[in-house]
Symmetry: C2
Subunit: 174 residues, 2 copies
């Protein structure tokens, strides 16, 4: 049996958090002491570590509760959905990066920032021995093996949708 303070230390979260989980029914201690203290069993700990895991994956408490309580629903679908959501979130953040770089007036900052440019990427590939032909081939292979990731990668270089469309177009054809 563990008190609330012990869980707080184990999982490095605040007491308020556990109180809240109790209140919303996500993690309710299996017992109470004579003095009405919350007492968590090993099963509760087990449940808590599941919650922790899913939280790290970015799931909402509501969704976590669904997974844990309605056993019928296997988590696979939910996790896949979250994976998709993550893709859109990341791409939104990348758009924010590109916008800020524009606002800052490009040149000065591109060098210091960790955001890559199309030109910089091409320069690196050239410097490591790739020629035009090899790069074309690289796009083709990328598109064949991981079309979605190809799209994401080009976006991350700040290339516009129109140009991306063209590149992927001819990469698919060959």
């Amino acid at each position: 049996m563990y008190t609330i303070g012990q869980l707080v230390k184990q999982f490095e979260l605040s007491r308020s958090t556990l109180l809240y989980y109790d209140k919303i029914g996500l993690l309710q201690p299996s017992a109470r002491s004579a003095a009405n203290y919350r007492l968590y069993t090993k099963d509760d700990l087990q449940r808590m570590s599941q919650i922790f895991l899913y939280k790290e994956a970015g799931l909402s408490l509501e969704v976590i509760a669904q997974i844990l309580d309605e056993q019928s629903n296997q988590p696979t679908a939910i996790l896949e959905q979250r994976l998709n959501q993550l893709n859109t979130e990341i791409s939104q953040l990348r758009q924010q990066q590109q916008l800020i770089i524009e606002l800052l007036g490009k040149e000065s900052l591109l060098r210091t920032s960790r955001v890559m440019d199309k030109a910089q990427w091409v320069a690196i590939l050239k410097a490591s021995g790739m020629d035009e032909q090899a790069m074309k081939q690289w796009h083709i292979e990328f598109e064949r093996g991981l079309p979605e990731a190809h799209q994401d990668f080009l976006e991350s270089l700040g290339i516009g949708q129109d140009e991306i469309g063209k590149i992927r177009g001819w990469a698919r054809l060959e």
Copy 2:
């Protein structure tokens, strides 16, 4: 003079949002009609589009208000700070992706997901004509030109910090 509804259409946001902006003082209409309707001037529109821009960059309303109202503070520093924040946010989301892929049992999903694997990346480079030597050179160039981006990219392939450390280590030396 524009009513609140006209702004709603122009900027594609909800009326409640504008009411809220009014309340917190971020965007207060310059005038009111006889019936006490909010009336926005062209200057207000101008201000709104600035707000919109900074919002797209992911700045908080509080920070936006600072930039717009305290003209002394040039936005550069704030934007650079946001750029840094974006890097950590993106890398957190990538960690969530990797975790979910683990939870899903890897193999089945890696093929359909848009997340790249080290193996997949290497396969693409090989298929487009790179050999071991060229890849080594590629790391060296990447590290020399954009060390931070190199780190980010390796992280995005799900490579552990220890291995990343090794790769960047020898890439720096040569």
